[in-house]
Assembly symmetry: C2
Homo-oligomer: 179 residues x 2
Amino acid sequence: MPLSRERIIEAALHIADTQGLRRLTMRRLGDALQVEAMAIYHHLPRGKEALMDALAEHVTAVHVEPGSTWQETAKAWCRASRELLRDHPGVLALALTKPPKGATAVAIREQTEQLTDAGLPGAAEAVRALRAFVFGSVAVEVQQSGWADPEVDEWVRRDERADVDFERGLEALLKGLET
Amino acid sequence: MPLSRERIIEAALHIADTQGLRRLTMRRLGDALQVEAMAIYHHLPRGKEALMDALAEHVTAVHVEPGSTWQETAKAWCRASRELLRDHPGVLALALTKPPKGATAVAIREQTEQLTDAGLPGAAEAVRALRAFVFGSVAVEVQQSGWADPEVDEWVRRDERADVDFERGLEALLKGLET
DNA sequence: ACCTGAACACCGTTCAAGT
DNA sequence: ACCTGAACACCGTTCAAGT
């Protein structure tokens, strides 16, 4: 299998999620791909900076099918975003912090248009509020899961509670955006 | 002026905020403090890991005086937290991502007690929701300010809008927590 | 076009040594 | 107790060279 941008990003995500972002180095990434680190520069010309950008984009560029109401569209987008971010805690810091570019910027514009087309005035403000809600929810949830926690039962209960908190908060936020 | 934990953290914050977290190195930090990098280890025995923890704590350990109602206390805490995080964009990624320990964990417990004492049932859930709101708001705001933006007028308008968005969202969230 | 090897400047950290 | 100097293993990146 030849080296490719996609394979590089996939391997990098795996390292970041399992070992932490600080352990994601070009040399280790090369090892994981059975290649010398320098080979990566051929596919990501700006090197590690380009890799970080690509990882952030990969976990923040979300697309959903338009629902029957703008509320349904917004919900689908929030749930999909949350799931994607939760699945990749290793790059969460990048996702919450890097200014949206490329595919992420496109996805934000797309979502704004979807809500506008579905009849929501002030869709740009709504999208910002929804993004803030998702970011904050995931940040707090992932932070908490990093706490030392010996009780497995506690774990499960805590996870389920994050789900209901998210849905409850989402519902309240959508109500607030209706006015 | 002798080296101290406080001076080290202050200098590190300055480097991170002005040049970015990636440029905060032990050697550069030593230079800024007019000392060899190795001297820092005497005040922060776990080295860079301890430094990162200390920076995260410094921008997330917030205390406020109790207000006349739990709503006032919560508002004061949210505003103070937002301001502190906004003042230090260089370590925002750490603040949103590192599990709360030490002074931050203490501050969270303190806030939960303040809200409980002021008569709010389920204060732990409320504190999580408030933290998520602040984190999400600041993340989106700082991300946006990282966008290329030639128009100064736009800048100002955008900043003011972030303020009213924050206050509006905070008010709505507090209403939602009353039930 | 795609990958390697050697090289360079820089990094975090240890440890013995200085005061 | 507090700081330095030298050393080590590791890092990102460049560039000429191989195929």
